[in-house]
Symmetry: C2
């Protein structure tokens, strides 16, 4: 235990995800040693983030304006909407530079144990978007886990009556992985999704 403000800083840092007591201590001493500027800049950004962080009115992505950069981009097509759980999934998909459609951020996945139901997600916003635009395909790009599967299943049922193509990302072996390290679920999916060569 340290005295006074240094321990307070270690305690606050230790509440962040992925920061254990050792890391919290290391960061606190780093900030104590650094020029005053660096702790102050971090403090300012922290103060501002809650006030100024906004979410795109259309897709729910983290945004600096009312419309995020992707929704405001006229070069992208409205024909395909890729549904994701979180804004960070958009960043991951944008990194592959393949997808030229729009996104829709649900804000999570259905998780009965965690108390997240369909009404806690931005599903009604998605339905409203579909009523008023020329979407032809919905790509469900949810996490490949139980919550993501449940949410995909729920959305598929909701979307079935509409004249839309609904697709999901392929499951299978990760590129560069070893077959014998793959878990049974992944290997099972890879078999089911096998293709003629």
């Amino acid at each position: 235990m340290y005295e006074g403000i240094v321990q307070d800083l270690i305690d606050e840092l230790g509440k962040l995800p992925g920061i254990g007591p050792k890391s919290a201590q290391r960061i606190a001493f780093h900030l104590l040693d650094a020029e005053e500027e660096s702790a102050r800049r971090l403090a300012e950004v922290l103060m501002k983030v809650k006030e100024t962080a906004r979410f795109c009115e259309v897709c729910g992505n983290v945004s600096a304006e009312d419309l995020c950069r992707i929704c405001a981009d006229p070069r992208r097509t409205d024909e395909v909407i890729c549904v994701v759980e979180e804004s960070k999934d958009i960043v991951a998909i944008e990194r592959i530079r393949e997808f030229k459609g729009r996104y829709h951020v649900l804000g999570g996945a259905i998780d009965p144990i965690g108390g997240v139901g369909p009404n806690d997600l931005r599903i009604s916003e998605l339905m409203r978007r579909l009523a008023s635009n020329e979407t032809q395909e919905i790509i469900l790009a949810l996490d490949p886990n139980i919550e993501g599967e449940a949410t995909s299943a729920y959305l598929s049922r909701m979307l079935a009556p509409m004249e839309l193509t609904v697709t999901r990302l392929a499951s299978g072996l990760p590129v560069g992985g070893d077959l014998d390290y793959a878990d049974e679920m992944t290997l099972g999916r890879a078999f089911l999704g096998r293709r003629a060569v």
Copy 2:
């Protein structure tokens, strides 16, 4: 890349030691989702830490007052001073609940490549302490690496003319470790320091 303030927060978090881009992103989204309180508390502590963090006038330990808790404790003996590199070493040694003397924090170790010489450390403060008190033993508890060794050697020479016992922490195999995983230096030290049983 995110838009606006969220990316600023990720950038600032990513400058902290041990926080990579993925962790920075995870912490930023955690703070975005958390109640406003938690980001604000962290910001406040960051603002205050540089102003209010103080160092003990005697030993250089992180402190809330002019004298740290250890230097102010009348139950501890002035006869032994344990010399450490950083305040966090004091916390580690206090945890074993064996040592009842005082400490002296050097603020680092001699490191010619990093540009740290004896004059950058609190060595003259240590000499002044020795002139005016009843110290009988100095324990050099520096890190067991090249910089720590160099600093121990330098301090031993400085302290040799004084009528003091100068000791160092034992080097050897870590308890609970496997002998065949020990590096050659550690194993060599363990041999040199072997004891009759």
